[in-house]
């Protein structure tokens, strides 16, 4: 009975994604497609984290690529300069992101709305400057190379391998997020979004709850950043740049604020579309911008919630 309940409610969407991820490679004409699909899953992972913060708790962050940067540089700097094994560097990166998020989040999350947006933006910019300027450690603007992830003597390399790693990681990340939402902490987060005063009056420690979700979302971004670096084998400060942060926000909003599967859709749109539009040459970015605007005008609330609402309406 428990398994049935599980499948029916929370984790059904993940089972569906698993099915799609399993059959999708049959349609891939080349390794390049594995690469693009892997990037979709990796960015979706970061977008889930940001969605918990933005879509559910209602707290914006325009600096989340900073945490992607921490995760990415951890797996580059750890093995190169400190002789740490890549897997340990990966874990250390996530831990460091959590600590940084905790320390930065405490003062910053007291701010609201636009003030929070600008403060997080500043945080992201600050981190990418650090990655650019600490050239001895990070290779500066040219970046640095990243050694392969080696587990029990097996080295993770190649687009196909990373496709499977990122797909499975995405599913784990999505499952954890869906678990959280169906729990006391998840309900508290969603409550904060609508009325902080009512949430507090029901005994919710709003400041602590915001900090918790900020730390969780930072860890998601950090893990995505580590994957990105390990997968590419090369890392530059751009990975943590302002544009990356904006791109993450766009993924969350496009797919649907407060929709975990929306984060996957948002990531898919923003990773695949630029590749698909390259035939437009100089007009590529313009077309991308127009499509994004169109989606938000016609599918207000993001792709997944809008489509879900359409299906709900069609039912008697």
């Amino acid at each position: 009975m428990n398994v049935r309940v599980l499948l029916n409610s929370r984790l059904m969407a993940i089972v569906a994604v698993a099915g799609i991820a399993a059959v999708l490679p049959a349609f891939f004409p080349s390794a390049y497609y594995y690469r693009v699909a892997a990037l979709v899953f990796v960015f979706a992972l970061a977008a889930i984290g940001l969605n918990l913060l933005m879509g559910f708790a209602g707290q914006v962050s325009l600096g989340h690529a900073g945490f992607i940067g921490i995760g990415a540089y951890a797996v580059a700097v750890g093995p190169t300069h400190f002789g740490l094994p890549p897997w340990l560097s990966f874990v250390a990166g996530a831990a460091l992101s959590a600590i940084v998020a905790f320390l930065v989040g405490r003062p910053i999350l007291r701010l609201k709305g636009h003030y929070l947006a600008v403060a997080t933006l500043g945080f992201g910019v600050l981190l990418s400057i650090v990655f650019t300027n600490e050239a001895k450690l990070t290779g500066g603007p040219d970046g640095m190379s990243v050694p392969h992830l080696v587990l029990f003597g097996w080295a993770a390399r190649g687009s196909e391998t990373w496709y499977w790693i990122s797909a499975v990681s995405f599913m784990i990340g999505a499952a954890l997020a869906l678990n959280l939402l169906d729990s006391p902490a998840g309900r508290a987060l969603r409550a904060i979004h609508d009325s902080e005063v009512a949430a507090r009056m029901l005994g919710i420690d709003v400041a602590r709850m915001k900090l918790t979700v900020f730390v969780i979302s930072a860890v998601y971004a950090s893990i995505a950043g580590s994957y990105l670096a390990l997968f590419n084998g090369l890392i530059t400060p751009e990975v943590s740049g302002f544009l990356r942060s904006i791109e993450l926000v766009a993924m969350v909003v496009l797919g649907g604020m407060g929709s975990i599967m929306g984060s996957l859709v948002g990531s898919a749109i923003l990773v695949v579309l630029p590749q698909a539009l390259t035939f437009l040459h100089d007009y590529e970015h313009m077309a991308l911008g127009l499509i994004l605007m169109g989606v938000l005008i016609f599918l207000r609330g993001g792709v997944v919630p809008s489509v879900a609402a359409m299906f709900a309406r069609r039912r008697p």
Binding site: D182, S183, A185, R187, R190, D194, R200, M201, L202, G203
Partner: protein, 262 residues
């Protein structure tokens, strides 16, 4: 026995004394109403008692303990709950989810258990849901449990806030104008709800403009005007008090007269 009391509470906004040396003694298990004209300071008084504002002077005591200046989340854990004059609904959630949030202080799982959805979380979710449904049932909203809160009518939202507050199992419950915007049927339903809450031993502090409701359910009535105490007593005493008639009921009457004419 006194469950909730204030001692010469005062607060001002830009030189205006919104609440001025107000002392209350509220008996456990009774309905204590606070009335007064618009801007008398009733909501401000609630905001101080519930920790949203810190008073400039005076003390608040809850169940014998000095709770002055405690933040709302601490007061909630001490057994205080309230509803809001301007609704504070979690609009992105369903009715029952709103009330489930009310169970927060009784939920014990940690964030790691929540992320992993350990069996304890599943069991707790079930308990929370059952308690929330019971609270919804008490205010007559059980049939609307799964509806998005945003789709409920105004009067239902008022009762949803009461259910949410009840779910936290408070010792004292502050209701700020629960009958505002309700039709006569809904107001009657509300009266029944208030009586049932008190029967469970929960103290109700009621701020309300609907005089019929106030006179019907109140054990004691405290009258405020311009932030200051004007009178206190039973319904009969307050109704007969000349100062009250002049400052408050008079306003009410002239308003009714105006309505009758207009």
């Amino acid at each position: 026995m006194t469950i909730l009391s204030t001692e010469r509470l005062s607060i001002s906004f830009g030189g205006v004394r919104a609440v001025d040396a107000v002392s209350l003694e509220i008996d456990a298990g009774k309905v204590f109403s606070i009335i007064g004209p618009n801007g008398a300071g009733k909501t401000t008084l609630f905001n101080i008692i519930s920790g949203i504002y810190v008073p400039e002077e005076g003390r608040v005591r809850l169940a014998g303990e000095d709770v002055t200046g405690l933040v709302p989340e601490r007061l909630a854990r001490c057994g205080l709950s309230r509803t809001f004059q301007n609704l504070q609904i979690f609009f992105r959630m369903t009715a029952i989810e709103n009330v489930m949030v009310g169970r927060h202080r009784h939920e014990t799982t940690g964030i790691l258990a929540d992320l992993l959805h350990l069996p304890s979380v599943g069991r707790q979710n079930e308990r929370t849901r059952a308690a929330a449904l019971a609270a919804l049932d008490r205010v007559g909203l059980a049939a609307d449990a799964e509806r998005p809160a945003g789709s409920l009518a105004y009067g239902a939202l008022k009762r949803l806030e009461i259910a949410r507050a009840l779910a936290s199992e408070p010792k004292a419950l502050l209701l700020d104008e629960p009958a505002a915007g309700c039709n006569p049927v809904e107001t009657q339903e509300l009266e029944r709800v208030i009586r049932s809450i008190v029967k469970d031993g929960i103290t109700v502090v009621l701020v309300e403009h609907d005089m019929r409701l106030v006179m019907n359910v109140s054990d004691r009535i405290h009258v405020l005007a311009n932030g200051r105490t004007l009178a206190e007593g039973t319904a009969a005493e307050v109704r007969a008090n000349p100062a009250v008639i002049e400052a408050y009921l008079g306003v009410q009457r002239s308003r009714e007269a105006a309505r009758a004419v207009g």
